[in-house]
Every structure is written in C-alpha cells, then in structure tokens.
C-alpha cells in the first residue's frame, strides 16, 4: 500500500516521462540510490505517453552532466527540482544530435578506449535512439554501457 506520503518530496528531484524500461538505466546513470529514499514507478499510466517510468529521489539535485546523460534515454524526459514540497524548476530534456564526452564506446578495439579522447557519438534516427561512435563508426543503444560513467570533460 502506498500512501500519498510516499509520493510527496519535500526536497529532491522527480524524473518523469522516462520511456518504459529505462528506469533501471536511469538509476544506474545517476548512481542511485544515494541521498534519501528513492521511489521508482515502472509502466505507470500517463495521460500524454500511454505508459512511462518515473523516479523520485529525496535529497538529491542533479548536475548538468547527469542531466546530459538522462537526456539520452528518451525524447521528452522531464526533470523537476522540488524545494519545500513545491516544484522550484522544471526542464524537458532534449536529446542532442551529437553527444560529446558522455558515452564510452563499447567496442574494445575502438581507439577511444586506448587514447585519451573526448568521445563523440552521433544520434541516429528516431526513438529508440541509437548512437554511432564518431571514431570507430559502430552503433550502440543507450543500454549497452555497463562500465562506470565517464566524467564529463567540458
């Protein structure tokens, strides 16, 4: 049984409109749980999207680099910053056509895994997105990355 209390954040972040099935990836990307309690909703009915995943984290504010990574998961991932129980700031993340310095290439013989290089990936086509490594030209989905997150070098 979930009471309304579980849904209410006092200070934290709501990550909404995640495509169904990407919540687990988002937790990985954000290195959750950390901060306070984390509530994860999967396959939740949504008025605009049919179904969606949603994450609520108490006590965590996301960095620019974390937002950049979340933007790769879906077309209109929405992130709301909650302070004192109210939405203080809300952004709809846009997936960039070029992703710089965020993803690591899963191809072990890609030169970017040997040299110190800022990786670049090109977004291919519509959602669900695939990304092509600018260097080795292999394509990958967003779900392939299992290593530690690369630091953003911007």
């Amino acid at each position: 049984m979930r009471g309304p209390k579980d849904f209410r954040l006092s200070d934290g972040t709501v990550i909404d409109h995640l495509p169904v099935g990407t919540a687990a990836r988002a937790l990985e990307v954000l290195n959750l749980p950390r901060g306070g309690p984390v509530t994860v909703g999967m396959n939740v009915p949504s008025t605009t999207f049919g179904r969606k995943d949603i994450i609520r984290v108490e006590g965590v504010e996301l960095s620019k680099s974390e937002l950049d990574r979340l933007a790769l998961l879906g077309q209109r991932v929405t992130v709301s910053l909650v302070r004192d129980g109210d939405v203080a700031h809300k952004v709809v993340l846009e997936t960039p056509l070029e992703v710089e310095g965020i993803l690591r290439c899963p191809n072990p013989t890609c030169i970017t895994n040997q040299e110190e290089v800022v990786t670049v990936f090109h977004r291919i086509g519509d959602f669900p997105y695939r990304f092509r490594c600018h260097h080795c030209e292999r394509t990958r989905s967003i779900h392939e990355e299992t290593e530690e997150a690369l630091p953003t070098r911007r």
Binding site: I111, T112, Q114, V117, H134, H135, C136, E137
Partner: protein
C-alpha cells in the same frame, strides 16, 4: 563536378571513411583517376607533386597498401618516408597516437595511416595539420580500397548504374564487402550475396540494402546465383572464423571459384578480388576474360595518384 571544382572540394581533405563520400565525391575521384590510368603497362611519371612528402605510418603490416600508396606518390614526383611495422620504431613506446601524428605532420605534406584499432585514422586526422588518408583502421574502413573497387567495376563494365553485383565469401566480417556495398547503393544496382550461413550479411547492412530496394538474392552457393550477374566480387574466408577446422574445410571447398564453375555466367562477367587470394579463386580463373583482379591492384595506384593529386595538387594545371 568538373576538375576545378573537384580540386577545390578535395584540397587538404582527409580521407577517413567511405561513408563520408557522397555520390558526387565518388564520381569526382573516379573521373580524376582516368587521367592517370596507364591502360595496362606502367603508370606514367607525372611530376605534379614534386617536393611533396608522403609519410606512410603502418602500425600493422599491409605490404600492398603501403607499396601502392608509395608507388602513387613516387609516380607523381613526390617522396615518401615512414615505417612498415611499428616495432621498427619508437612509436609503440607509450606515446599517444595523437602526439605522434602531430609530430609527423610537421615532417610531411600528407599521411597514410594503417592501424589495428578502429577509429585511429579519424583520431589522427583530428590531431594532424596535414591531410590523413586511412589505409585501414582495424575492421572499420579502408576507403581507398572502396574507391579502387568502384573504379575497377566502372572501368571493366563501362558503367555503375544498371549493374547486378554479387558478393561472395565472408559477408559478415568482410570490411571490403560492407564498404563497397554501401558505396554501390549510391547507384542503380542490384546486390546479391553468396556465403555460408554463419557468415551472412550483418542485419544493419542487409536492411539498408533491402530498404533501398536493391537486394537481389541471398544464396549459399555460386550455383544458385542468377546467370545474368555482371560482377562477382570474391573475398577470402578467414580460417579464424571457424572454431572447428572441419567446418572451415567444408566452407573453403564450397566457396572456391574455378573456371568451370563460372562457365554458365558468360564471358561478360567480371571477377574481382581484393587480393591476396589463397585458394578461393583457382589459378585457372586467371584465364577467364573477365578476371580483372590484377588490373584491380594496378587501379589501386591509379586511384591513389588521383586522390593525392586532388588533395595536394594545383587544380589549375589539370
């Protein structure tokens, strides 16, 4: 585009991936190559790049690619320096590729890089002040091979549109097959594929060919191919692809071209192979009037001369 436009488009440009070439770029290189075609025999000495230096940096051996580039530069009156294997040099001692390229770029006017890792040439071109030509980066790209293949097809058949081209051998891992098939999709061609089940075309490429409406047949033996194909592009099947040596032996004998196996296709068929062959093309095929694989190797010099001239030469004197 005309010759002047082609020079303008290519001046100082790196050549990293066949994927970077639009149809008009491909045609510009093929057209430019006509000028250097010796039509059999040796290439003429045309000192258009006198005083220019080509560095060939081969981090893994590929004798034919290296010699072909060097021959092209020497025929154009330029000079070459470089290494054929990394252990001849101090390059393998921990220095980053980017740093090494930056240094070499200050010694020369153009670099040819061969490297076992995918993406090395792209990275090099981003670190280099002079154009970088990709002489092969791992299993990824070998764009001058694609250009010389296209040149050979057009020269031997007289066209690129309206052709039926069949690829045979390692369709799954064969870099030359993938690049050439992609490049041919710029033209009105029908592509067929002959290979063992385990070495079928990668899905991405297959879908691309199919979506373009250019997929002919996919068969597992030469006997099943349509008789009216114009070009048969054979490639080697690598032993390492087969964990069981018996499987390899079976496949090897099934994908061996002989003069007799080609009889039903007629004499207009052109047979290409990127070389070196082991035994997938029998010696008696050499006598087939359409066996153009040695000419294909010669065309490698022709096309590389054209490319070097487009990138480094003056358009006005062309």
């Amino acid at each position: 585009m005309d010759v002047t436009e082609a020079h303008r488009a290519f001046r100082g440009r790196s050549v990293i991936s066949a994927e970077d070439f639009h149809k008009e770029d491909l045609l510009a290189v093929l057209d430019a190559a006509r000028r250097f075609d010796p039509e059999g025999g040796s290439h003429q000495y045309e000192p258009l790049l006198q005083g220019r230096i080509l560095a060939t940096l081969f981090h893994e051996p590929s004798t034919r690619t290296r010699l072909s580039f060097e021959a092209a530069m020497l025929r154009l009156g330029g000079q070459v320096l470089g290494f054929a294997e990394p252990h001849q040099t101090s390059f393998s001692k921990g220095e980053s590729l980017a740093d090494a390229i930056r240094v070499v770029a200050s010694y020369c006017d153009v670099i040819v890089l061969r490297h076992p890792m995918e993406g090395a040439a792209r990275l090099a071109s981003e670190s280099s002040e002079v154009p970088v030509l990709n002489g092969g980066d791992g299993s990824n790209q070998h764009p001058t091979q694609t250009l010389l293949d296209l040149y050979t097809i057009r020269k031997s058949t007289g066209r690129l549109d309206g052709l039926k081209v069949a690829f045979m051998g390692d369709l799954r891992y064969g870099r030359t097959v993938h690049s050439l098939a992609n490049a041919l999709l710029n033209f009105d061609v029908q592509l067929s594929f002959v290979g063992p089940e385990s070495l079928r075309l990668p899905d991405v490429l297959r879908q691309r060919v199919e979506a373009a409406g250019r997929l002919g047949s996919e068969v597992s033996s030469v006997e099943e191919l349509d008789e009216d194909i114009d070009v048969l592009y054979a490639t080697r099947i690598q032993k390492e692809r087969f964990p069981d040596p018996l499987d390899y032996e079976r496949v090897r004998s099934a994908y061996r071209l002989t003069r007799a196996s080609l009889d039903r296709f007629g004499d207009d068929l052109k047979i290409l192979h990127p070389l070196p062959r082991v035994d997938e093309v029998a010696m008696d095929v050499d006598l087939h009037p359409g066996a153009v694989y040695f000419e294909q190797a010669r065309n490698g010099v022709t096309v590389r001369m054209a490319l070097l001239h487009l990138i480094l030469g003056e358009g006005a004197d062309a």
